[in-house]
């Protein structure tokens, strides 16, 4: 019996000194892999999946267009038809040329022709709108296009 008594004397608490280290590791992982959200997206975004993805070279050359149905709290004001969102506002198809010129002005003069437009489009959007956007982008001479998609895992 004497042998057992000795054991009960040991500290019953779990050592938690390594816990902060683990949490910090997680913290750093998230800090490195994420970017701060710049805009509030006011359109529905269910991005389609694809397998043949390519990465963008230079993030500074990319401008984003979000296309989809306005989110629930925006529907009273903007209706249920798919809309185009650039930066923080909804724009009409005809305004795309002006928007592209604005975005080009933000870049260095030598890089203006390399501007890439990333389209983040909701699954259910109809091609009519996408085609109109593409025509406007051709008009604005921003011809490099990226359809943002998610990697499809099941092959």
């Amino acid at each position: 019996m004497h042998k057992f008594k000795k054991k009960t004397k040991s500290d019953p608490s779990i050592p938690t000194s390594a816990l902060p280290d683990i949490i910090f590791m997680l913290l750093f992982f998230f800090m490195v892999t994420t970017v701060l959200r710049e805009t509030t997206i006011n359109v529905e975004q269910h991005i389609p999946k694809a397998t043949e993805l390519r990465k963008l070279q230079r993030k500074s050359l990319v401008s984003y267009l979000y296309v989809g149905k306005p989110t629930l709290n925006m529907q009273a004001q903007f209706g249920k038809e798919p809309r185009i969102q650039a930066n923080d506002v909804f724009i009409a198809v005809e305004e795309i040329v002006g928007w592209v010129l604005q975005e080009k002005d933000k870049l260095d003069e030598v890089e203006r022709d390399q501007i890439t437009i990333a389209l983040k489009v909701n699954n259910e959007t109809k091609m009519g709108l996408i085609s109109d956007i593409q025509l406007e982008l051709r008009e604005a001479n921003a011809r490099k296009l990226l359809y943002t998609t998610i990697q499809d895992m099941d092959l």
């Binding site: 892999t33 259910e124 051709r138």
Partner: protein
């Protein structure tokens, strides 16, 4: 005196985890994982920049894919259920080299024409475009002894002269600067049947 010496000299760090958790949750909430991957495409130049040249395309060089407003596929005049089948059909068409009269004369002449309707869903469009580009990436990869995935990563690292050499070889770029194996995917203006 003896009692004081026995006291644990360690600093109480149990709340450290809480502080770190708070920071962690803050970052989790305020950030999004950067998603800068997708299907790259180059749009053709402005319509009025192109000279009105009568381009003579032989019918058999064209590989036609059409998707209607109900997301149904029509490939080379035949309805098709599974979009994954397009990939092999494109490869057969492009690599035909004149063997079959109904297919392309050479990879250089082959054109894949992709037409949608204004009512086609974006998801379907991306699905088909994915297969069309995938077919080309596979063919390029095969030409330089790589997989399609390796080819795609290679195209992102063209600053490396080794990669550039492989890239030019895959696309058949000769000394005259002409590409003999171009990715001729033409996106036609959508039809207006299911339009909005």
């Amino acid at each position: 005196m003896a009692k004081k010496k026995r006291a644990n000299p360690e600093i109480n760090s149990s709340s450290m985890a809480d502080i770190a958790f708070l920071l962690l949750i803050f970052f989790l909430v305020t950030t999004t994982i950067a998603n800068d991957r997708g299907i790259l495409m180059q749009l053709p130049p402005k319509p009025d920049d192109i000279e009105d040249v009568e381009i003579k395309l032989k019918e058999h060089n064209l590989f036609k894919v059409y998707v209607n407003s109900a997301d149904r596929l029509l490939v080379e005049g035949e309805p098709l259920q599974d979009i994954k089948e397009i990939r092999d059909m494109v490869k057969e068409h492009v690599l035909n080299n004149g063997r079959n009269e109904k297919m392309s004369d050479s990879p250089k002449d082959a054109v894949v024409s992709f037409k949608t309707d204004r009512g086609t869903s974006y998801e379907m469009y991306i699905g088909v475009l994915n297969e069309l580009q995938g077919a080309y990436y596979e063919m390029y990869g095969e030409r330089v002894g790589m997989s399609a995935a390796e080819w795609r990563t290679l195209t992102n690292e063209l600053d490396d002269p080794e990669n550039k050499k492989l890239y030019d070889k895959g696309r058949g770029k000769g000394a005259d600067g002409k590409v003999t194996f171009p990715m001729n995917i033409s996106i036609a203006e959508p039809s207006k049947i299911g339009g909005n």
